[in-house]
């Protein structure tokens, strides 16, 4: 089982390094990357300043492993990686990183979209949206 959860934000250097690691695989012709970034949404005149992520890690890891296996059987991929932040992620920081690599470009977009949606739908992750005044509300996925 690959490590998915990262404490704190996912840095642009981490993403750059992940890309660099795939450059020795010369069977890869196309990568597709999804990044989720924390938005400064406005709710009733207050702005979100951060999201605090928590998860039920034991169940989440089981579900992520299922998603990984299904992704490889559904799509013709060379490799795939999923990373999700835990803890406090400020606006503008990246909390979700899905990285799909394939021989050809055709399927990478729908593979990424499918994986992103499965992680959102099937993985017990919670986000507490924290406003500038330290009040909060629990994030609801649309």
């Amino acid at each position: 089982m690959k490590k998915v959860f990262i404490e704190g934000p996912i840095s642009s250097e981490f993403i750059g390094d992940s890309i660099a690691k795939h450059q020795s695989k010369t069977s890869i012709g196309a990568h597709n990357i999804f990044l989720g970034q924390v938005r400064a949404d406005e709710v009733d005149g207050k702005h979100v300043s951060a999201i605090e992520y928590t998860c039920y890690e034991e169940l989440a890891n089981t579900k992520l492993e299922e998603i990984r296996e299904e992704a490889f059987s559904k799509f013709d991929l060379v490799c795939m990686h999923i990373y999700h932040s835990l803890g406090l992620i400020k606006t503008g920081e990246i909390c979700f990183f899905v990285f799909v690599s394939a021989k050809r470009r055709k399927e990478v977009y729908s593979a990424t979209e499918w994986i992103v949606n499965q992680v959102k739908d099937r993985t017990p992750i919670y986000g507490k949206e924290i406003f500038e005044d330290q009040s909060h509300q629990w994030k609801v996925n649309s």
Binding site: F96, V116, V119, P124, I125, N141
Partner: protein, 79 residues
């Protein structure tokens, strides 16, 4: 018997804890939930139940054993 309760999302606010050890006299998840909803205003919050990291169907009542981990999972909000 003793079980470990885990609460997530909005339930953390309502119950005031994200994890607790609980001595219970009931035998099934059904009875446990009944008892919880008498003590906390959780009836307006939709959630799924997991026992020992396994999701339990909505209509399923599972027999509990000493040492079980019971998690209450509102709708997920990852990504």
């Amino acid at each position: 018997m003793e079980v470990t309760m885990k609460y997530f999302g909005q339930l953390v606010d309502v119950i005031g804890s994200h994890e607790e050890q609980k001595s219970i006299k009931v035998n099934t998840t059904d009875e446990l939930l009944q008892q919880l909803s008498e003590n906390y205003a959780i009836s307006h919050i939709p959630f799924q139940l997991a026992v020992n990291d396994q999701l339990i169907g909505d209509e399923e009542a599972v027999k509990l054993n000493d040492g079980d981990v019971v998690a209450l999972l509102p709708p997920y909000a990852g990504g």
